[in-house]
Amino acid sequence: MRPSTLGFATSAAARPVPTARPRAWTQFLRDVPTMAAAVALLAIVVMAVAAPVVAPYAYDRQNLEGALQGPGRAHWLGTDNYGRDVFSRVAHGARISLAVGAVAVTAEATIGALWGVVAGLYGGRLDAWMMRVVDLLIAFPALLLAILITGIFGRSLVNVILALVLTAWPGIARLVRSQVVVLREREFVEAARAAGATSGRVVRRHLLPNVVHLVIARATLDASVIILLEATLSFVGLGVQPPQPSWGLMINEAFGYLRSAPFLLAAPAVFLSLTVISLNVLGESLTVALDPRRRRSRLPGAPS
């Protein structure tokens, strides 16, 4: 490695203006809704991780004599039609919802980012074909694709994750490609190439670092869509299968007891909505905080 030549390529141009970053982050950290969303999300994650510890009962422990009890001392969110503890099920449901969300988002963001980088970097016919695949998958409404996959390959958690990944990654690929197409013409990439950097090195050192913030912001928004879609699929009966708990499934089960035990609806509905709203707020704020254009507009002297 020759630090003199490569150092020139990576120093000034490749990195974002360092003085601007703290401003955007300060704004981000001071924004009350953003922080409220972060705290809510953190609490839900803690509840999910610690579910086996905080849940007073096993999520599938039935007690038919104590079915459909209202919230009380022994079961502080009540019990469902099988006498199962609602709080224990909500906590374990958080585990499933968040785990499915985390796995699906990681996979779709990785696939989407790599697809977008390769298409954008090489351009030409390869790019055209790769983007046709993206167009095709984006043309499918997410729920329809999920129905096709779970319908043909069977109702299982793995197929649900597969469907979620398949509906989400093309969005990231399109986003990343549009950035890479611009970036690859920039001087710092040209300089790196002139210094003899391979395509792999250009991708790793110059292209990925310049799109990763966009991917993170977009993936946060995707997470809310994905968790909502998992809940929807489970609600319809195509996702998580009983007796495993999932918020969507619990809301479906609550529908049968709206007359006698409306409280069954409250806990899964509140937790699901809170998770989706928090991820949305956080994603929107991240998009603003990480957007270099908006960052620049906040510099002194620039119109805000």
Partner: protein, 306 residues
Amino acid sequence: MARYALHRIGLTVPLFLAAAFLIFMAGRLAPGDPVVIRLGDQYDEQAAQVIRRELGLDRPLLVQFGHYLAAAARFDFGESFARPGRRVGAFIADALPISLRLTALAIAAAALVGVAVGVAAAVKAGSALDRLIQIGIVVLLSVPNFVIAAVLVLVFAVRLGVLPVAGVSDARSYVLPVVVLALLPTAYVMRIVRASMMQALTEDFMRTAYSKGLARPQAVLRHALRNAALPIITQIGLSFGYALTGAFIVELIFNIPGMARVGVEAIFQRDYPVIQAVVLVYMAVFTLVNLLVDLSYAALDPRVRY
């Protein structure tokens, strides 16, 4: 206009064909050989060959796909696996109008309410009313619609008893399903109406309209709303497509015998031809609506020319 239309259609057709091929292939990749299932215990290689020839399964894939599409165009999707002897097209023909009617009603409601409320928010931008509308939009966009459905059923059907819990027997039974299905599109329409109206209200032609003595309501409706119409129509058109899949959940909640029931029952019974037909028909409607939205651009805005 004609050239633009041709160009748009030229872009749409290959996309739809590719989607149809994907749906066709999904059926081929499905676990379980239909010939083996059909023969059951009497399976022997020779009989299997005969049936394969009869069903055209020995032909090249693209030829099979061509036959599948040609049949689908005549609304022939073959026989149901789960209910032998029943034509898949007949299920779809029964269910599709119900789903389309529900979706159309919901989109009409969303368009009416969305435009009215959105205009009000834009005209009174920054007021308490505007704030309230903005909060409403955020809530509608982030609370899952089956959660809102559950709350509405609880209040209006179970507690107050003014509306039926399920079914589509009379006009009253349409109220809750249409309201639930309209919520999300209404929020999207409100958001886009507010944004594009606020833009249009600051344009020069509005000053001209006022200075020639037009009253505010007339100026707003005749000049601003017309100029803001394009993105609004796009949003309404796109919403139609998404409401179609949204109707899936609403149909299941309210026990409406539409496409969702056909589709979900098929999934539980692993009835592949039905699943494929449901997805293909929805994909066709979806593509068609998007195409119409694009074409309406050119029809409405003389500046759009290819």
